[in-house]
Amino acid sequence: MLDWFTYFADWVTYSLFKLSADSKFADAVHFFIEDTAKILVLLIVLIYLIAVVRATLNPEKVRYYLQGKNRFLGYILGSIFGSVTPFCSCSSIPLFMGFVSARIPLGVTIAFLLTSPLINEVVVVMLGSLLGLKFTLLYISIGLALGITAGFLVDLIKGERWLAPFLAEQYKRDDAAPVLEYQDKVMTLAERHQFAKKEMLTIFIRIWKWVVLGVAIGAVIHGAVPAAWFGEHLGDRQWWSVPVATLLAIPMYVNATAIVPILESLLLKGVPLGTTLAFCMSAVAVSLPEFMMLKQVMSSRLLILIAAYLLVALSLLGWLFNAVNF
């Protein structure tokens, strides 16, 4: 089905613009047209569909489900809910406090908050359309595993010691946690459509320019930088390229959307999968503004530990995937 976009790009590049098929420039133009068209169309359709399905899921409902669950089941559920629950990133703090006040273990809350940006609909749709199903499933499974492990580790080191005092207090109290109530919202199909339309428009308006920018950079790399250069500089023989990629990705939180098309052209040039995965996940998960915001509810010590965990875990993953050569 995705072939349509290739035919469309063929037609525009070779028939409409009359570019010669063997020039590097035509190659880059073709890459740009095919990817922009493919990503934008798929984003519109899939974000709408995803939103229709999850319209009734919200943080309040998740909190209700997670309260009082077994700790280990909680890490798994927390990660899964984190990946599918829609919420505005400015809600991270209230959500964090809301979970803590319901005495959901801190690890479960962290598992939720870490997977949430890592597995979001935009990144998943883009990965799926550009890098294929195998890479996307791999990405999602690793994302969940990262969240679950982080949750387990945070509770293992008793991370709640390092919360802001008014939150740490919640876990020290002897009285039973307040019992939550949740009234499930019933939504008609029309209401779901309204929700999905609004969600899709908001996301589309926010990201379309980043998609175009990312694909443009990807197209330049595709057409202009020889594959041999990457083999020499970012190949799997340079062990240090993985941690460097992980670190370099930190400032890229600015827009993860722009990164995926660049990654596609890097992979095509032979940059190893592990390095690419580590870069991609680091860019999405380690967001400076998010970390600054979390400083209101936890000490820098806990935050630094979480950031260090992510960097170490991603480097290990990168090396592993480079070694097994998927």
Binding site: C90, P94, G98
Partner: protein
């Protein structure tokens, strides 16, 4: 007179919500007392999990998004 609180950490959506409520109340000529609550502890104690959230006379009526005009009108009834 209705006591309306808008809970939020001061992000754009929260400001928009407060402005929308104010504007709609003025249009309908309803007198309200609107407060923006950004203190973290107060947000937690109100039981708010996703922002922007709105309470009317202490009762949580909306959370997680900027409400549409129709929803805002229902706050006043």
């Amino acid at each position: 007179m209705k006591n309306i609180n808008v809970y939020g950490s001061g992000c754009k959506n929260c400001t928009n919500t407060a402005e929308l409520i104010e504007k709609t109340a003025k249009q309908l000529q309803i007198e309200i007392k609107l407060s923006k609550v950004s203190d973290l502890q107060a947000i937690m104690e109100a039981g708010v999990v996703s922002t922007p959230a709105v309470t009317v006379d202490g009762k949580l009526v909306h959370a997680g998004s900027v409400p549409d005009v129709q929803t805002v009108k229902e706050f006043f009834s």
